[in-house]
Amino acid sequence: MENYIVEMRNITKEFPGIIANDNITLNLKKGEVHALLGENGAGKSTLMSVLFGLYKAEKGEIRINGKSVNINNPNDANALGIGMVHQHFKLVEVFTVLENIILGVEPISKGFLDKSQARKKIVELSERYGLKVNPDALIEDISVGMQQRVEIIKMLYRENEILIFDEPTAVLTPQEIKDLLEIMRGLAEEGKSILFITHKLNEIMAVADRCTVLRKGQCIGTVDVKDTTKEELSRMMVGRDISFSIQKEVMETGDVVLSVRNVTVASKLHKNNAVKNVSFDVRAGEIVCLAGIDGNGQTEFISALTGLDKTISGTMTLCGQDITKASIRQRSIIGMSHIPEDRHKHGLILDYSLEENLVLQRYWQLDFQRNGFIRFNEVRQYAEGLIERFDVRSSQGPVSTVRSMSGGNQQKAILAREIDKKHELLVAVQPTRGLDVGAIEYVHKQLVKRRDAGKAVFLVSLELEEVMNVSDRILVIYEGEIVGELDPKKTTMQELGLFMSGAKRDTSKEGQ
């Protein structure tokens, strides 16, 4: 036997109606980066929660350094040297980096907080692992990538030997991802053992030594990364071949469908405007992608475009009609379909049935109502048709409560509704957020289909790969301004990343 630092043997964890982990065995060697790969709902997070003491497994045994242990809560995990960087950081925004790091393990001398001792240790750790954090900066003032490094120091400060990273790259820019992967390698070389939860294959290929693949709660296998390929891993993860590049024919673009001129939108968070003087066109038969790091004005711009919020100045024209002051319903009638960013907040009424949600944009049309009375037979027929065409799965068909459906199928329902509605422009905001590889492929295909049907598609995305693969034209937004217009065929991910992080801008766009 090799010297495993963590052995999780035959772990089984059940939730009512579902086996989240079915007899899973995972062994972590000392000093390795071990990736845990799987689709959403494959059981990765559950398995890590078992290790971190958030859940108790029904069956199985956990051994740390060869000794069988009982982990009942995160404090137990901490005592055994297990630390975790959560997907959503657990930091106090108005505290400094130092205060956040020592939170819970404050060094005390004579009854008073002794920060100088802590500061020395933090600076030392920061230098040793190349983390470059300033202990006196406030969390709210530093970037997301820096916040993540604070989380890493938090684990190191507590002298954790086993570090769990839960989808750490989801919130980072390409440059920050590169830095993080380097840091992870550095930590492994210093003898820390790392568990890396992800569904991004490139990152696994770049950093991991070994990879364990989960699918539907079961362990598919553990492979050495150097002996495998991306295609092999994705097949293990999904259970079938996935095409990474999207098949797209070259399309002639048609007339201008959406025209945006000098639009400025106020911010709800601060006094500066969130969107500043934005102008662009979207034509029929093209997919234009608004790329940018989260929080650079995309949400505000989409609210203004779809009518949820007002603009301060500028005009928007859809199919030749001025929609700057039009109501949401008017925009919808003129030809706008909208796949919203937050499907639970905007896209669906979770307590309504699937069929009621499928007519959410159309219930008032004469197809579905007469004299104010809803024609339930027509609604049922229509819903059944959509469910079949878009393969929306649910427990009870049209009458199932949407709340009970899986995220992927909820998204399919929205997609079905918005695509089937009469439209010229499809606004899709992060349409693949939180979906697994199979569902992402499906959504992308649908977007391309819309384009091929001669519709204009306006896509907002934070995912670089999605931006590069799906779009015909890329607009980069940074701090509320369009800083560049790129052709995905002629640019690289690195260049796009530089634009997104504000390091580069297309000066020729200015003054337009």
Binding site: T306, G307, L308, S327, I328, R329, Q330, R331, S332, H338, P340, K345, H346, G347, L348, I349, L350, D351, Y352, E356, L360, Q361, Y363, W364, Q369, G372, F373, I374, F376
Partner: protein, 386 residues
């Protein structure tokens, strides 16, 4: 073994359909709340006066049956205010102003009853419609504040309870045709302003209860079958999604509050325009600066009825029933307020609806599963399940 498994699953599915039916779960949790509330009331009675507890409790439970006309008469206003609260609640609005709307409706109905001279058949109908308009006015204003200025409807409607009550008391006391200072009450209404009686001897029960039940059924149809109901419930479940779908949220808020106000106003009209058992007399109003309790009882009725119009019809009759029974407990020495304790406890428990429902359906499930298992053992030759 295979078919045993299959038939078990079949059984589970049908049971699942039953217990996961929304109507069933609301109904069973309301029953559970009533049961626990009554037990609690019984315990209070035992503590207060053990020797009379049993006879007192039987008055609470069965006393109303001997006064069925009164049960329906007193159910009418709380049915209407219950609908007023429940209907607004479907849209996510808490209409705590049913009292003010009710009082306003009552005043408008009284005004038409005393001051307007109309043909006999038309008079009471006009008075009822006036009552509805009075209530609508007091629902509309908080609705406008909410929709256009985003002022919380709870605050405005509480204020309007007071405004309505003081305004009505002032107007009535200043009007010699309506108010008789020696009795410090309103005078008796003209005969043709009174709603036709249903003719149950010894009670005030009138056509109002039938109209109220019909209105409840109409509201049910509006909520379930119309686009307005679809929008209303959608807004109640998820305001953001209703905006996203282009529903006119502001218009719907104003409309819903106006309808709710109208419902409560009708409650006031139905209550005050009632004929009494004594010929020539009528119900009277005493302007003594008290907020109408029927408005707040409407909140209790709506909660017990899970804001469902049909549920509210039954819960109002039930609350009225135990209230009538409660007044009878004074025959064996209890204060009638005991019944307010019982109602309060029932409402308290119905707030735990989901927990109780889970407990109840879990209990039934276990029992049925056991029985099912037993019958399986005795009849092992059962083959295909379906």
């Amino acid at each position: 073994m295979q078919n045993k498994h299959a038939s078990n699953r079949q059984f589970k599915f049908s049971f699942h359909d039953l217990t996961h039916n929304k109507g069933f779960s609301s109904f069973s949790s309301a029953l559970m709340a009533i049961f626990l509330g009554l037990i609690f009331g019984f315990i209070v009675m035992i503590v207060a006066a053990p020797e009379n507890a049993i006879s007192g409790f039987s008055y609470v439970v069965f006393g109303g049956l001997s006064r069925i006309g009164d049960v329906f008469y007193f159910a009418t206003p709380i049915l209407m205010t219950g609908l007023a609260v429940g209907f607004a609640f479907k849209m996510g609005l808490f209409n705590i102003g049913a009292s003010g709307q009710y009082t306003m409706g009552m005043y408008f109905a009284l005004y038409v009853g005393f001051m307007w001279d109309l043909p006999a058949g038309l008079h009471w109908i006009t008075a009822i419609i006036a009552g509805m308009l009075g209530g609508m006015l007091f629902g509309l204003i908080p609705g406008i504040f909410k929709a256009l200025l985003n002022v919380n409807e709870v605050i405005t409607s509480i204020m309007f309870n007071y405004i309505g009550m003081y305004l009505v008391d002032m107007l009535i006391q200043g009007n010699a045709i309506m108010y008789s200072s020696p009795t410090s009450r309103t005078r008796y209404l003209p005969i043709d302003a009174k709603i036709p009686s249903l003719g149950i001897p010894g009670s005030n029960v009138n056509l109002g209860i039938i109209l109220a039940v019909l209105i409840g059924i109409v509201l049910y149809i509006i909520l379930q079958k119309t686009t307005f109901g679809y929008e209303l419930k959608a807004t109640g479940y998820n305001k953001h999604a209703s905006d996203y779908a282009g529903m006119r949220g502001k218009r719907n808020i104003i409309l819903t509050m106006a309808i709710a106000g109208g419902l409560a106003g009708l409650g006031g009209a139905f209550f005050i325009l009632a004929p009494t058992a004594i010929a020539g007399s009528s119900m009277t109003y005493e302007p003594i600066n008290i907020i109408a309790a029927n408005g707040f009882n409407g909140i209790a009725v709506a909660l017990l009825g899970h804001s469902h119009p049909i549920g509210i019809i039954f819960s109002s009759i039930f609350i009225s029933h135990i209230q009538r029974g409660g007044t009878l407990t004074s025959l064996v020495g209890y204060k009638p307020e005991i019944i307010d304790v019982v109602i309060a406890v029932i409402i308290y428990f119905s707030a735990f609806a989901m927990i109780m429902n889970a407990a109840l359906s879990g209990f039934i499930k276990n029992r049925l599963l056991k029985r099912n298992a037993k019958s399986k053992d005795s009849e092992p030759e059962i083959k295909e399940a379906g």
